[in-house]
């Protein structure tokens, strides 16, 4: 029995070692290699600067978005008693709402853009990441990033509805229509159908104060930095519609901004910039690292499956071992006892 036991323990140790070796080697390599190279902003990346201090919460952008994208009005169950569906009352983005204005409220809510006893508005829609998680997880290439403008689009004909884009998006942007038998994923595509006709995205087009401003990402970044550099309270002419466009600007005092341009570096960078008066995490804009988790995930996959070398090598080894065992058992006498086999 002792001989058996030793033999067995050797076998068990072998089992552990093989398992560990098969996976640990490539995994530790992956750890050493770390994430794959970060992606960079496309050459003519377009985006949006949303200035929370300019937003008056009129929600013109929400209804313009619905119209431009043919989305239905939403009537949340919680509001059903006093709203019979006559007007849109979306509380957050959803399968039927691509863009929404939400409000932050604290205490007595006497002053706008103040954290204590104040309130503030925030716009929710796709940030069009530079290195999007939704594209990385999608198994059927339904999510695509335009190589020139950087707009992240969704192709429902490819989509299988696995919802890993919903699961993986750090901003919770893609939304599946759970209440439809043939639901689809909804997400802001930055009105690329309107942009193709030379028009502005609907939300930026209708914004009366310039809180939503369309433009090239690099220009918007510079504009955001200018606003941060300006002295709070002094008069500033805020462009409307499109940055560098011919619309008359909106003169208003510069807000008291948080010293952070949200969206510049979050999750490897996005094509949307947020300037806010209250800390961004209060507005539902999550704290995120400067790299995209897509780079972490793909770094791991690219190391483990680089040229399919590791899996093929492993398969080769397994075939040899399996063949040896199968052959051995075929040749030997199956009526012999296991004790004999152990002490062999």
């Amino acid at each position: 029995m002792d001989a058996n036991r030793r033999q067995f323990l050797r076998g068990a140790a072998g089992a552990l070692a093989t398992t560990a070796a098969a996976v640990a080697a490539p995994v530790s390599e992956a750890v050493a290699f770390g994430p794959r190279e970060p992606k960079t902003l496309p050459p003519k990346a377009v985006g949006m600067l949303y200035d929370s201090t300019l937003c008056v919460g009129c929600k013109a952008c929400v209804s313009a978005c619905k119209e431009a994208n043919g989305m239905p009005a939403e009537q949340p169950a919680s509001l059903a008693l006093w709203n019979e569906g006559t007007w849109d009352a979306a509380e957050d983005i959803s399968g039927k709402t691509l863009n929404v204005i939400r409000v932050y409220q604290n205490g007595t809510m006497v002053e706008k853009d103040r954290e204590q006893d104040g309130y503030a508005f925030v716009k929710r829609h796709c940030l069009h990441c530079v290195d999007p998680s939704c594209i990385s997880v999608c198994p059927v290439s339904a999510m695509q990033k335009n190589p020139v403008t950087g707009i992240v689009t969704h192709n429902p004909d490819a989509c299988i509805g696995c919802r890993y884009c919903v699961y993986g998006c750090p901003f919770n942007v893609p939304q599946y229509q759970f209440d439809e038998p043939f639901g689809r994923i909804s997400k802001c595509q930055f009105c690329n159908h309107l942009q193709a006709q030379g028009k502005l995205p609907a939300c930026c087009d209708v914004c009366p104060t310039g809180a939503s401003l369309f433009g090239l990402v690099e220009d918007l970044q510079a504009e955001a930095e200018r606003r941060l550099a300006a002295k709070p309270g002094e008069t500033y002419t805020f462009p409307r519609g499109k940055l560098g466009g011919d619309r008359v600007g909106h003169e208003a005092p510069v807000g008291e901004y948080q010293p952070h341009i949200y969206g510049e570096k979050e999750s490897g960078g996005t094509q949307v910039r947020y300037l806010t008066g209250v800390p961004h995490e209060k507005l539902g804009l999550p704290e995120l690292p400067d790299h995209s988790y897509a780079a972490v995930s793909e770094g791991m996959q690219h190391t483990l499956y680089k040229g399919m070398i590791a899996p093929l090598a492993l398969l080769g080894g397994l075939v040899v071992l399996a063949r040896r065992s199968a052959k051995a058992y075929r040749d030997e006498d199956p009526t012999r006892t296991d004790d004999e086999e152990d002490s062999r």
Binding site: S141, C159, I160, G183, L314, E332, D333
Partner: protein, 405 residues
């Protein structure tokens, strides 16, 4: 000697001496299972007629619910018995365990096939599912893509590995009619290739089920989010695979009064204990290396989940590593249950319970949603029962003489 034994009859040289159990198929427990399947079927119908929201509490905060987590992420780990035993018997050449392999393989066949079925219920745009196989839609950076293709391939391999059990029972007239003898010879000659694939593919997709979570980043508690997720998922899949084999062997032996496999199971326990130790070393070592172990003792929701999970992983080691305690059927059974619960909780934590999408989202499955999962599992058990009663799956009584007891 070998001429006396009908080796040539058996398409799989390793798996002779298996016999159908026989007996009545439609028993009372079987009908109860059938009732649960029917209830599940009713809700599946509703899901397809009225959409997922009609039966499920999934939301855009928690878009992955029990269908994926219980049926696929945990269900396939329960289906890893075939994978784990093939690794031991064929790759590490431990033929002593071969009586356990065919039942384990059958568990894998159903565990995985029904996980595939559950995915079809869960896919929001199931009519596009075949896009996964269209090269022009392939997205090779996607972990889900790898999991999907790999699981599909493995389901095919499992059925091929199990195919000899059908061939053994098939009337020779049918075999002649469809020229299956040739197929049988082919299978017999090249089975080792499928066996190797049957070890490679689960290694790939079970580790990938961990890699899937790498995209979650700060949505997943740092107690679970680590670069070592793929390795931890692989080790836990193997441990759960052996756990299922031990559970299955004990239950089947008890219910159908077969000779005990205790000696074999005691041996197998050591392998499992080793895997559990390895899992805990990687798990705790990683937390130490990342300096996050302190989170385990905050006694908040995540800390408590972590402590329960770790206790369930650690408890069986004390039993499984000791030959004396392991010889006690009851203790061994408890250890097996604990280990399966540990692996299941680890997976559920990673995919659901330790996930916080923010903005106040919460998730608890609805009753109809759970009934669909229950229905799928019951269907699996019913099919398992039909198969072991009509096909040569379990070790036959005639073979007992040569086995230590």
């Amino acid at each position: 000697m070998s001429v006396l034994h009908p080796v040539a009859e058996s398409p799989d040289p390793v798996l002779e001496n298996h016999q159908p159990l026989g007996g009545r198929i439609v028993t009372k427990p079987f009908m109860l299972l059938g009732l649960l399947v029917l209830i599940g079927g009713y809700f599946i119908l509703r899901r397809f007629l009225f959409g997922m929201g009609d039966v499920s509490h999934m939301s855009n905060g928690y878009p992955i619910g029990t269908w994926v987590v219980l049926d696929v992420v945990i269900g396939t780990a329960f289906g890893c018995g075939g994978f784990a035993m093939a690794l031991l018997v064929y790759i590490l050449n431990r033929n002593v365990y071969h009586p356990l392999i065919r039942p384990a393989l059958l568990g894998g066949v159903f565990g995985y096939t029904l996980a595939g079925l559950a995915v079809m219920i869960d896919l929001g745009r199931y009519w596009n599912a075949f896009n996964l196989l269209m090269p022009w839609y392939a997205q090779i950076n996607s972990v889900i893509f790898e999991v999907a293709l790999c699981v599909m391939a493995y389901i095919t391999v499992l059925w091929i590995e199990f195919w000899p059990a059908f061939l053994e029972r098939m009337p020779s007239a049918i075999k002649k009619r469809f020229n299956l003898d040739k197929f049988q010879v082919f299978l017999r000659r090249y089975m080792y290739v499928f066996i190797a694939l049957g070890v490679l593919l689960p290694t790939m997709h079970q580790s990938s089920l961990g890699s899937v979570l790498l995209i979650m980043g700060s949505k997943l508690s740092p107690l679970w989010y680590t670069q070592w997720l793929p390795l931890l998922f692989l080790i836990s899949a193997l441990a759960m695979g052996y756990g299922v084999v031990m559970l299955e062997a004990t239950l089947v032996q008890r219910s159908f009064k077969l000779p005990s496999e205790a000696a074999l199971l005691t041996k197998l326990s050591r392998v499992v204990a080793g895997l559990l130790v390895l899992f805990l070393i990687v798990r705790i070592g990683d937390l130490l290396a990342r300096g996050q172990l302190g989170l385990a003792f905050n006694f908040d929701r995540y800390s408590i989940l972590f402590l329960i999970e770790t206790a369930l992983f650690a408890a069986p080691i004390a039993i499984l590593a000791s030959q004396r305690r392991c010889a006690n059927t009851r203790l061994r059974f408890l250890a097996t249950i604990s280990l399966l619960a540990a692996g299941s909780l680890y997976r559920m934590n990673g995919y659901l319970l330790a996930v916080n999408p923010g903005n106040g989202w919460t998730y608890f499955p609805s009753a109809p949603e759970l009934m669909i999962t229950v229905g799928v599992v019951c269907l699996e058990i019913m099919l398992y029962l039909i198969f072991i009663k009509t096909l040569p799956v379990l070790p036959g009584r005639t073979a007992k003489a040569g086995r230590p007891s």
